[in-house]
């Protein structure tokens, strides 16, 4: 039941939706011919009904949180209340021109200002930028801020950023984009950063240490306090990757832990569904010392009026306009709706669900780490290697059981990792059922490993030939040529 592509369905001359406009024939002749395209783009021609059926059917071929339990570790695939979907539909925000004179956008600027304040209070930071379009973009912002900070202190020796080997791949990539060299800090046997490795790695070249809290094993570093003290005494900045903020918002504030720069992913934590890849947003909070370097433009309040300004010290603009405002307004809405204690509850129950599921899966597969976990935990399917199975084979069987799959092969420090994050919005019943099914699947992996290699069987297609896809990539529909 695969759906033909738009180009397969296209029939030349079909009229689609009637757009305002005019016949191009009458207009085009007035532009010099060498400035015009030689033929119309090969875009599909379909009726509105055909387009509606096409995308409705495509939607049926995709799983989301709205249809399935989605325990994709590190992605916080929780339920985002539908009321938040209505905020970006309010004409006063949706149809507002970003180059509007400031007199005409007072409501927007006020909302963004409240959003900044609310995020600052949740992070425990002094100032927040709303500019970054995603978590990784926030990392880049933080890294460029660090660069500016050391430049402002005329400290030109700090060219290195330290990153634990368990970190998200974006951390090193962002550091590289910011012109820093990356030095990897090894994990200890418990999955936490090894204190000695950190001590060894720190030097007068260290500009910043980037840490994920809780780390990608779903663990709070046992020696966090010592680590922070070490970094401080080395004169470096401390960056927190807040992708896992759903584990502790309203409970613990990164600022109170001693971090200088913190980003969070509002699309994970604050009510923007992931949309198949985005949009998201990645606000960054900083200490007072670093505030002057935040990206431009900044929202300024003066005498009860708001305006945008580009402060002198700023690293400059990170993207077009103020920020992904329609995403940020959702985050603001979520904070407003849940309030202080509601947000705290979110994290408490995210912890509860993760620990409950962890306990249910005790003894099914070995877990990396010990004791309580935070909002997620990592199992290793390494024992199945004997049978020629990988974590990804387990994941495919999980798809067949009626779930989305956990994250596989990450973090890299755990062989055949299966990273499970249930989030606070799933019920006990769902967790019980998932645990039962997961147990059955692992028994099956031991008993009849071959069966897993054929999974999934109940999905619209079976396993794609990924090697073939990468060998000679077909990235556009050949029928469009």
């Amino acid at each position: 039941p695969m759906e033909p592509t738009l180009w397969e369905k296209s029939r030349r001359g079909t009229k689609g939706v009637c757009s305002p406009g005019t016949d191009p024939q009458a207009v085009a002749i007035k532009i010099p011919a060498q400035l015009l395209r030689s033929e119309p783009p090969s875009l599909p021609e379909l009726s509105e009904l055909e387009v509606v059926r096409h995308f409705t059917r495509l939607s049926h071929l995709s799983r989301g949180v709205d249809t399935h339990f989605y325990p994709l570790g590190s992605c916080t695939m929780k339920y985002n209340p539908k009321v938040m979907d209505r905020i970006p539909e309010i004409p006063g925000f949706r149809d507002l021109h970003p180059r509007m004179d400031s007199e005409g956008m007072q409501g927007l600027l006020e909302a963004l200002s409240i959003c900044e304040e609310s995020l600052a209070s949740l992070m425990g930071m002094d100032a927040v930028t709303l500019a970054p379009a995603a978590g990784a973009h926030g990392e880049l912002a933080g890294i460029l801020i660090a660069r500016r900070y050391f430049e402002s202190k005329k400290d030109r020796t700090r060219t290195e950023i330290l990153i634990p080997d368990s970190a998200h791949g974006t951390n090193p990539a962002s550091a590289a984009m910011g012109g820093f060299s990356v030095r990897v800090v090894a994990s200890g046997p418990d999955g936490g950063v090894d204190l000695d490795s950190l001590r060894d790695a720190l030097s007068e070249r260290t500009a910043m240490v980037m840490m994920t809290v809780p780390n990608t094993l779903g663990l709070f570093e046992k020696n966090l306090k010592e680590m922070i003290a070490l970094v401080r005494s080395a004169g470096a900045l401390l960056y927190m990757d807040g992708a896992n903020f759903n584990a502790f918002m309203g409970v613990l504030r990164p600022g109170d832990l001693g971090f200088d720069i913190v980003h969070i992913n509002t699309h994970k934590t604050l009510a923007t569904p992931h949309g198949g890849g985005g949009p998201g947003s990645g606000p960054v909070g900083v200490t007072r010392e670093l505030a002057p370097f935040l990206p431009s433009p900044r929202v300024i309040k003066e005498e009860g009026r708001y305006r945008l300004a580009n402060p002198e010290g700023s690293i400059g603009p990170l993207r077009s306009f103020i920020g992904s405002t329609l995403v940020l307004l959702r985050a603001l809405g979520y904070m407003k709706m849940l309030g202080k204690s509601g947000l705290r509850d979110v994290s408490l129950y995210a912890l509860l669900n993760a620990n409950y599921l962890r306990v249910l899966l005790d003894g099914v597969l070995p877990r990396k780490g010990e004791g309580l976990c935070a909002h997620e935990f990592v199992l290793s399917a390494k024992e199945f290697s004997n049978h020629g199975l990988h974590a990804s084979d387990v994941a495919k069987e999980i798809l067949d059981a009626g779930y989305y799959a956990p994250t596989v092969s990450f973090p890299l420090i755990v062989p055949e990792a299966l990273m499970v994050e249930p989030t606070e919005t799933e019920s006990k019943e769902t967790l019980d059922r998932f645990a039962r099914d997961f147990r059955t699947i692992c028994e099956k992996a031991r008993r009849s490993p071959e069966a897993l290699k054929g999974a999934p069987r109940r999905t619209p297609v079976s396993r794609p030939d990924e090697v073939g896809a990468a060998r000679d990539p077909i990235l556009t529909d050949p029928r469009s040529l």
Partner: protein, 456 residues
Amino acid sequence: MASFIPHTPEETGEMLTRIGLKSIEDLLLQFPATNPRPGAPDLSLLGEGMDERALLRWFAGLAEKNKDASRAVVFRGAGSYDHFIPSATGALVSRGEFLTSYTPYQPEASQGLLQAIFEFQTAISRLYGMDLSNASLYDGATALAEAVLVAIRETGRSRILLSEGLDPMIREVVHTYLEGLSIKIDLLPLGQGGQSTPESLKERVDESLACFVGAIPTFFGTIDDFNGVADLLHGVGALFLLHANPHALALLRTPGEWGADIATGEGQSLGLPLSSGGPYLGLMTARKKYVRRIPGRLAGLTKDSEGRPCFVLTLQAREQHIRREKANSNICSNETLLGIAALVNMALLGPGGLARAAAGSWKNAHELEKRLTALPGVRNLFPDAPFFHEFVLEMTPSAKRMSQFLLERGILGGLPLEPILGSSWSGRSLWCATEVRTEEEISQAVDLVREFLRQH
């Protein structure tokens, strides 16, 4: 208070018992100790929560203070355009299966999403006349910055040349992105006529150059002529980049036809709302040979184990989650959902509808320009350059004052250029008219400008 937690108190109790804890607060035992940070804003700022209805009313109150397009007719562009959006788009893109899915790491459970991305890549590639497109980047500005990084990496050179025709805001974003990388950024000025000249380009092109970036159309609305540019650049081993408005490409010569290596653009003009500036949709297209250089997700066509055609994310070895600091970019989240919206729009309008819309923009802008420049003391700054749907108007009174005057009367007029380009631009503003402007609206705008001129 709302928190969307499904647990009954009994269930919470059972779960805690199973974990071996007495109270849910015991879960916090794993947390590190902290010292409250002095001076940071208090958590109580967050308030006690509110219900849906109160929340929506609160937002409605804020929205009232904004002059959105229903309260100020938009004659302003400069990177954000008021275009027609078919109603079917919202109904389709808001479907939960798309909205609440993640990046499709498990292709078997995400064929619909992958196919939509593949179709998006196809549509954008054909619109730009290029071989391939990625699944989107944050916005036009960051897409261009990423493209410049590709050119720098590809050539190993550390000088780039940007056309003055690029939106100054976008040039600044490129500056920000290159902040840490010791890259020299040169500017190719537009000539007096509002187009770049072959001579001034030649002066600046040599074997130190990683790339030149031109704009279609320019920030000032003019249509530049890139005849011979590709050969000139390729002759010295530099890359030719073009940043193009996809709405205009329904009619204008494409980056592919100009011989560009990489082309980027802002997808907002494919029918995304003005959105107060974001989220927008970064487009990146390229020649096939750069396929392993470009950043971001790529969906590819392949076959499943039974030989059926299917889709999959491919070439992930370029990406940060595998290559880490050696990755093409740090990009992870992108703007997939907006890409699907743009795809749905393109499919609904078809090539004919897109061309019709673009021609409507052209026509309305030219009508507006004709009538505004007929006013005494008003001229087009680049009267001889062909333009698409924007143009710079020059007059004696302050453009900022005019903008205020018009806004108070329900018109978002031309963008004052002085705050962006300096005091010599005080009487200049950048006007735009798209296909959705009506004759009455154009007349109203012209009448109000006349009235303003009479008073000032």
